[in-house]
């Protein structure tokens, strides 16, 4: 038995809320996968919102004419007709004020990459069909409680009984804050890893505790003593991680000064550009000049993709991770890349990515800079030749060649590569060019 939430979708990077124009289905109606369920309007644009699971519309939590923040649950879909009554009975119906509480779900994590990328092979017809990971189901609910996924996880971590809480969210939905308040924890700002990239550590240090905000409550999927089954996405990640054991990898690192990149970021941040997009663009541009680092091993030989698609690892709050793909990162302008990225992250969060949006990367980027780590190495996703681990940018005392001493911001990057197709010299030359671009000409990324 499973209940699936319908979320207010992000139709634009500048959309914060949307108006429900019309429900095309009534509670109790069957819905087919891909069938339009409701219409959302933002500005002068309408979009049909479709069901991503077949089943029955069990409940409408936000009626037509109302406005809901992006990411808010606005309806429920159940898999069988028998579950409708249960879902309706336990879905609170008294409308309450809806505070716009964004629930941050995406946290990039390195060292594990989920998407089973089909190995690029020369003949498109021969692309091996790799089953995409099924959409993970929310935890089963006996007598359904309406709570955000983050609230459920926090409740497990903090030992709070959800049944005992009154939700402050729309229609009584239990929010993470409710759980934190109930456990006596101070309410933390939902952490949004994406977009702050290498710059978050400075803020954490300024707060005086030196630890990243996430350290306040380390993530766990179970309580002490439990053994928790892997969800579908975690199982897919496990398969991919095991596959990497058959690949002879090596690592090569570089220290890159980021003062000019930081300055550029400040000027374009207001235009919706994220650090992830900047790094992906930089990597894409340099990869285009180093096709040997964009290569993949196949039995037939070295497979050179005809595009530069940079995948970026994004951890899912409920376990596992996805690698949404920025297609043609070398050719796409920075602003389009940033918009695509915002859209991909929003849709990863609501599990609405299509397989080709997370499995067509030719190179992967993993960024843990927001936690302040100074270095790490990543595990190579199958079907690709290399992955770049990006650490935090931090003020560092640097000695110049002439003996001068200066404080500069520097970050370490670490490339993991399949030595069957990429040799040390290829990786090193790629990193040298990447460093030169970021240190001497980052402005070209914004042209």
């Amino acid at each position: 038995m499973a209940t699936h939430d319908i979320f207010m979708p992000a139709l634009s990077s500048t959309m914060t809320e949307g108006k429900i124009v019309e429900w095309l289905k009534k509670p109790g109606d069957p819905v087919a996968r891909g069938e339009s369920v409701l219409v959302v309007e933002s500005d002068k644009a309408d979009m049909d919102v479709e069901a991503f699971q077949a089943g029955f519309l069990a409940a409408v939590l936000m009626p037509a004419g109302q406005t809901a923040p992006v990411g808010e649950t606005i309806g429920l879909i159940v898999e069988t007709e028998a579950e409708i009554a249960a879902a309706q009975a336990s879905a609170p119906s008294a409308p309450t004020a809806a505070p716009a509480v964004p629930v941050a779900v995406a946290v990039p994590v390195a060292a594990a990459v989920a998407a089973p990328a089909p190995p690029p092979v020369p003949a498109p017809a021969a692309v091996a069909a790799v089953a995409p990971p099924a959409v993970p189901s929310p935890p089963p609910a006996a007598g359904r409680l309406v709570a955000t996924p983050r609230a459920r996880k926090l409740a497990t971590q903090l030992g709070v009984a959800l049944e005992s809480l009154r939700g402050s969210g729309p229609h009584g939905r239990i929010q993470a804050e409710d759980v934190e308040l109930a456990s006596g924890q101070s309410v933390s700002v939902p952490r949004v890893a994406e977009g702050t990239a290498a710059f978050a550590p400075a803020a954490a240090a300024a707060a005086g505790n030196g630890a990243a905000p996430a350290a306040a409550s380390g993530q766990a999927f179970g309580r002490p003593g439990d053994t928790v089954a892997f969800n579908t996405l975690q199982q897919a990640v496990n398969r991919n991680m095991n596959a990497s054991l058959g690949v002879p990898c090596f690592h090569v690192g570089y220290t890159i000064t980021t003062d000019r990149l930081d300055a550029l970021y400040k000027t374009v941040k207001g235009k919706g550009v994220t650090m992830t997009a900047l790094l992906a663009k930089a990597v894409g541009v340099v990869l285009a000049r180093h096709p040997q680092v964009n290569v993949a091993f196949t039995e037939a030989g070295m497979a050179y993709p005809d595009r530069v698609n940079v995948a970026v690892a994004v951890a899912m709050d409920d376990g596992g991770l996805l690698t949404p793909v920025l297609v043609d990162a070398d050719k796409t302008d920075l602003y389009s890349l940033s918009r695509s990225w915002a859209d991909l992250v929003a849709r990863s969060r609501t599990k609405q990515l299509k397989p080709d949006e997370y499995s067509t990367g030719t190179f992967t980027l993993s960024n843990l800079g927001m936690f302040g780590v100074d270095r790490f190495d990543a595990i190579l996703p199958p079907g690709t030749g290399a992955i770049l681990a990006v650490a935090a940018s931090r003020p560092t005392v640097v000695a110049g060649a002439d003996g001068s001493i200066a404080v500069k911001r520097q970050m370490q990057v670490n490339l993991t590569a399949d030595h069957r197709v990429i040799y040390g010299a290829h990786g090193a030359a790629f990193l040298k060019d990447l460093a030169a671009l970021i240190e001497t000409n980052p402005e070209s990324l914004a042209l």
Binding site: S13, V21, V39, S42, D43, A45, D48, D343
Partner: protein, 225 residues
């Protein structure tokens, strides 16, 4: 850099009844939904007199009984309030896979405005956007109305640019729900200007904005009825 996206251009000579043009758009949308790699399309045409309402539009902005309208009235699957179509006004309906164009509905609205601004620029006029009021404005008058709808990021509907149409029909409605804003037409600034001069400019502006390489329909791509 890119050779441009393959797009079919439909430019019927005679005004097309709204219902027919709407059916065409839905057909083109269905084709693109069925084959997301297929060609995009652009319809540029005129409508006989009619009124259309967005899906969430208020009938309070109609100055007439919706059961007895002065011209055919359609409630359609786009965003926005009521508007008026008639000969002398060019409408452009791009049926695009917006995933190829940034997957961002607000950006798409801004790009449609941009295309009209480009046309005005070609004519030596400096049109403008007004924050929060989607459309294109010239000296406080609204020259172009915009409203779009999408399914799985495949767009339909689009923009309407007043060239030399009779504006009296707008008096029967509150266009786009804006009571205190006047409607304008290009020929008030450029006397003698006609559809034939503006149509190619609009076609090129949209093609450029969206990186489309326009071509006529071939074989089964043609639209009938």
């Amino acid at each position: 850099m890119n050779p441009g996206l393959d797009a079919i251009l439909f430019v019927p000579d005679a005004p097309v009844p709204f219902a027919r043009a709407w059916r065409w758009q839905r057909l083109l949308q269905e084709r693109l939904l069925a084959d997301s790699r297929g060609p995009e399309a652009l319809l540029i045409l005129q409508h006989p007199r009619c009124y259309t309402l967005g899906r969430g539009a208020s009938e309070a902005h109609l100055g007439f009984d919706p059961l007895a309208p002065p011209a055919p009235l359609f409630r359609i699957d786009r965003g926005g309030e009521v508007t008026h179509h008639l000969p002398g006004q060019l409408v452009a309906y791009p049926v695009l896979n917006l995933q190829r164009h940034g997957a961002d509905l607000h950006l798409y609205l801004r790009q449609l405005e941009g295309a009209v601004l480009d046309v005005l620029g070609q004519l030596g006029l400096a049109g403008e956007r007004i924050d929060g009021l989607t459309g294109v404005w010239l000296e406080g008058r609204k020259l172009a109305a915009i409203g779009v709808g999408a399914r799985r990021w495949i767009s339909q509907h689009g923009l309407a640019l007043n060239v030399n149409c009779d504006l009296s029909g707008f008096a029967a409605i509150v266009p786009c729900g804006l009571a205190d804003r006047a409607v304008g037409r290009l020929c008030d600034w450029l006397p003698g200007l006609g559809i034939d001069q503006v149509q190619p400019l609009l076609r090129e502006a949209i093609a450029t904005r969206f990186g489309l390489t326009l071509r006529p329909p071939v074989g089964t791509e043609r639209l009938w009825g």
